[in-house]
Symmetry: C2
Subunit: 629 residues, 2 copies
């Protein structure tokens, strides 16, 4: 299909609804997928089976391109749109085999502030309604699994508090009529952890029984929170257990948005069904009163969590406005998790693209966060190495970094952003330069994508291009895919193809065999530009506990603002020499990292006074959805 | 496929997993459905489009059979299994065109106490894993919609408490650069309710502005609760709003299980997309401080709720073990809602079955609840009338009603239930007789299905058959579909076919134009056998409020125990002359009924000490699910 581009650019939903998607089985056939390789979800989406990967184990990989961004304004600089537009250019205009790997958005913001996340303008994933709503149910599965574990934790504490060891034992391993008992297979995991190798429950000593039946969770240490995929601020802080039957066993806790769940984080980094089963079982929900980590498998629920996630592990095949294939999979928070789409989707895409093809995957937030985690966490777990990093920037963002007035969502842009000011742009390129230097520190060829807005002038664009090349970028290109579709990103696509041919020597920022503190310091100093790193006493204590519990060899996932290299969102440009403070440390043992929280993290957004849902409705005659943005 | 029956009967999951389902498109083709009539969800499920109904508007309906039960023991008497087995007999053994309409089960009990609900033995819906887990996402959509409305309520109260009328107005109808403003289309619904016909926001008087922007919800009247499809007892009673940003606007509330949501109730009784849109908008979440009902459309979210439910309105096509078609749709609570599968599924099934075919639909709980609501609520909203009612009973349940010892889930059955005792059975048939009399009061031919267990004797079975015929049943048949599949229910099927040929003169228990109290009294006296009906002062007050608010013309949905005709679950048999007490009254304005709560209702179950999830896992090599029951 050739895009019929209209000026001025219509609304995202008008463009998306005017498009007639190809039957997804045609998109699948174009990738060499047979009908046994996927499950249709309607005519326009399909879940791709993991067996596809097994079948192509011997085949070569495509070129692996990660799209990251400069430090953004609160309006966003078009990273998803560029990811999609670049693929439309590669696939529909340069006739390359290309697959886009992109995250599933949360439903919360769709009905709240942000609207959808399918790209924008003439660079979108369609159908945008499915993409922004339930899609193929992956986030709902994560919600179900997260909340099943939460329910299991509180009810276990309740039953342990109200039952003797013998009563617990009789319920956990009920006697048959002949007095025989059996362990459920999952119980053997806990027995193994306890160093008990008996297979007959009746042979446990009283001490072994006690250790087996009593997890003795310290309620004050429970870090597992419930989730909903709804922007519900009134669930941030709640007290549970106030029903008349719960015997005053109340507890303070709260809900996070579903995409902030560790189970979402696991989905994004898992590499197989077996790996996911093990990761889900390893999730640490808190500690026993004796200070031992308590896991999902200790509670007996790791298998059930995997069963709930059995379909979610399959990426969803969709398409762009120019009929190029897209794999949508996972959507982890970019602060407490990786903010990257899934390893499994990238792995499948790389095989389906093959040696002559391209896979473009997106890293959320600014490159200091999304790309750093892509390199140090995602690639570490996948064993993959990128061939090229694209850094998306805008004249608007660089002006802000150069000292322009604050950019605030929902308020009119200052005049400075609508008129030419080359000096302001040049001053802001320090931000871009630092991101380029970081990319080079990972040994990856880097291309700067200048996402052009209508108010940008040739002088401003050229200033960015020059600054990018001076900072060590392999290439830089102006792109207009929002208004033109893939045709607007052909220069960018050529630049990327060129960079992919350059030698890459991928390396991590830090090795795993240094201390957790040293890992945090390595990221803070080398990637953020910090001069000093401080840990709060609570953070120090947690680091000590987690190291003692055996988690010292994990990588570190930084939770910090995306609006600055530092922890101060107002520090624009490329600050350096600042003191970087770590407030709190948590473990995500299933996902496989230690989280260093630096500043306040919003774990569930709220709805504004006039949420996006005011415009959303359905035409009852045609079923057409109205007002999604 | 011919069932290969093994004795003793293997476990449900072993039978289900040994079966090879037909491709669902073949099942669809057998019903005359073309590829445009459904959306595949994998190879084994499809969502049937509502346009199917439009296309067949002129065609005749099949025979309409509702399966209800005698007052059950806590173990259940096999109503779902009989529903499925009867259809396997009609379709696979008597070569009739037949469609089963059945509810989607909640995920909560799947991982908790009850296990799955796909029928049992050789009478099951397959694949049972999909049926018992996410299926095609309908319950997840209900969860999302219910919680979006909940979030919108609390945040609206928050914003109204912290903003002036002008600030609210400026946010709800923001001014364009030229000062012009517009109402979102959904706002016109509130304006209409307020009697304001202005179309330009700037023309509102200050009083009109105030009325428009300020819903003034009285937090104490909010009845809308959040939901999860998880058995999480610690969410029964909670306090929300305790996060630091919520300014101490805390509130006591709680979560219900998703299937107890009014949105699930709406899904079960809606008749079209347009009807669903209107019902969702009409949902009353509480009252203003002035005593006016506040609706989802007042909050501006009725359209968004419909968008979230756009796919859930389509029934899911599956199949039985003997390749007969099944429509799975909705799964409303049987106490505070109808406990029946959806009107839309029944409507579609009746058209697809056609004049020579049969549709078998199930009514949850005992017939005093499920069948009563089927007749007085479901059929009232659908305009359909049943041709036959099947009442499922067991020797076990009738012995209990005859004075046998208590039957307790999880404890061994008393000897009385395993040895012949014809007198005990005969004594308990009073329960069956009352259910038969009720069916006759609705003017429906009635067939008793005696669900045979291995320990039942010929004498016991014959006693039930005799009692059924004496009580006025049109026929009675012993059925062994659990162990034999459809072959075991051929006699039952023949009896049902015969009854369907008898003249029916369907009538409701009560008309709509009497008072709400009179409706409750009519059900309590005529269907339950009560001698007197009492309303608590709170119930009296609510009835007065709801009548004043314009809800007096709605039917009544009784929320009472399924373990007795009375509100005392220990009163077995057919008690009469008792005083029936209504504790509390609520409105479900979207679903379209007044709920009369009689006794304590458990709105979200808990997990036992050893939940079903201990046995549930996945084989990471094959993806095979283990331990579901």
């Amino acid at each position: 299909m050739v895009l019929k581009v209209v000026t001025p650019t219509p609304s995202d939903i008008d463009i998306a609804q005017a498009a007639v998607p190809l039957p997804i089985k045609d998109i699948a056939a174009g990738l060499g997928l047979g009908e046994d390789d996927y499950d249709l979800h309607g005519q326009k989406m399909a879940k791709v089976k993991l067996s596809v990967l097994d079948k192509r184990q011997g085949g070569g990989n495509g070129k692996y391109i990660v799209v990251a961004g400069c430090t953004p304004t609160p309006l966003g600089e078009g990273k998803s749109t560029t990811t999609v537009g670049l693929c439309q250019a590669l696939g529909a205009h340069l006739n390359k085999r290309v697959i886009t790997c992109i995250r599933q958005p949360s439903q919360g913001p769709v009905f709240g502030i942000k609207g959808g996340a399918a790209g924008g303008g003439y660079s979108q994933v369609i159908p945008m309604e499915e993409f922004n709503l339930h899609m193929t149910g992956d986030i709902h599965a994560i919600t179900a699994a997260t909340n099943l574990l939460a329910a299991a934790i509180d009810v276990r504490c309740f039953h342990e508090a109200t039952q003797s060891n013998d009563a617990l034992f009789n319920r956990l391993c009920p006697a048959n009529q002949d007095g025989s008992r059996r362990f459920a297979p999952i119980m053997r995991r806990r027995l193994e952890k306890l160093g008990i190798d008996k297979t007959d429950p009746n042979e446990l000593t009283p001490e072994e029984r006690a250790a087996f039946v009593r997890l003795d969770i310290d309620p004050a240490t429970i870090t597992w929170r419930r989730v909903l995929d709804t922007s519900d601020r009134f669930l941030r802080g709640i007290t549970i257990g106030q029903g008349p039957q719960e015997k005053d066993m109340t507890r303070s806790t709260g809900f996070d948005i579903a995409v902030a769940s560790e189970i979402m984080a696991i989905l994004a980094v898992t590499t197989s069904l077996r790996d996911m089963r093990e990761r889900l079982g390893r999730i640490v929900i808190g500690s026993s009163r004796a200070g031992q980590p308590v896991t999902a498998d200790d509670i007996g629920v790791g298998g059930a969590l995997t069963v709930l996630m059995k379909d979610a592990i399959q990426p969803t095949l969709m398409q762009t406005l120019e009929e190029t294939p897209v794999l949508v999979h996972a959507g982890p928070f970019a602060n407490i998790a990786t903010g990257n789409s899934s390893i499994i989707a990238d792995q499948i895409a790389l095989k389906l693209a093959g040696p002559d093809g391209y896979v473009v995957t997106e890293a959320g937030f600014g490159a200091d966060i999304g790309a750093e985690k892509f390199c140090n966490i995602k690639c570490r777990y996948s064993g993959l190495a990128p061939d090229c990093m694209v850094i998306v920037c805008t004249v608007r963002a660089l002006k802000m970094h150069g000292g322009g007035p604050p950019v605030v969502a929902g308020k009119p842009l200052d005049h400075a952003y609508k008129t030419e000011n080359v000096e302001l742009v040049r001053a802001g390129c320090c931000n871009l330069a630092k991101h380029i230097a970081n990319a080079r520190s990972w040994g990856i060829p880097v291309v700067v994508a200048i996402n052009r807005f209508a108010t940008d002038t040739e002088g401003e664009l050229e200033a960015v291009r020059q600054a990018a090349l001076e900072a060590g970028a392999d290439d830089a290109a102006v792109a207009q895919h929002h208004g033109l579709g893939g045709e607007g990103a052909v220069d960018l696509a050529r630049a990327v193809m060129g960079a992919c041919e350059k030698p890459a020597a991928f390396k991590f920022t830090y090795p795993l065999d240094i201390s957790l503190k040293e890992k945090v310091e390595s990221i803070a100093r080398n990637i953020y530009g910090a001069g000093a790193v401080e840990f709060s006493p609570e953070a120090e204590a947690s680091l000590e506990v987690y190291s003692r519990q055996g988690f010292g060899g994990l990588p570190v996932c930084m939770a910090k603002t995306q609006y600055s290299f530092s922890t101060d969102p107002t520090a624009k440009g490329a600050p350096s020499g600042f003191t970087f403070r770590v407030r709190e440390v948590r473990v995500a043992a299933g996902a496989g990292w230690i989280i260093a929280l630096c500043g306040d993290m919003m774990m569930i957004p709220g709805l504004p006074t006039r949420p996006a849902f005011y415009e959303i409705d359905i035409d009852p005659e045609t079923g057409k959805i109205l007002g999604l943005s």
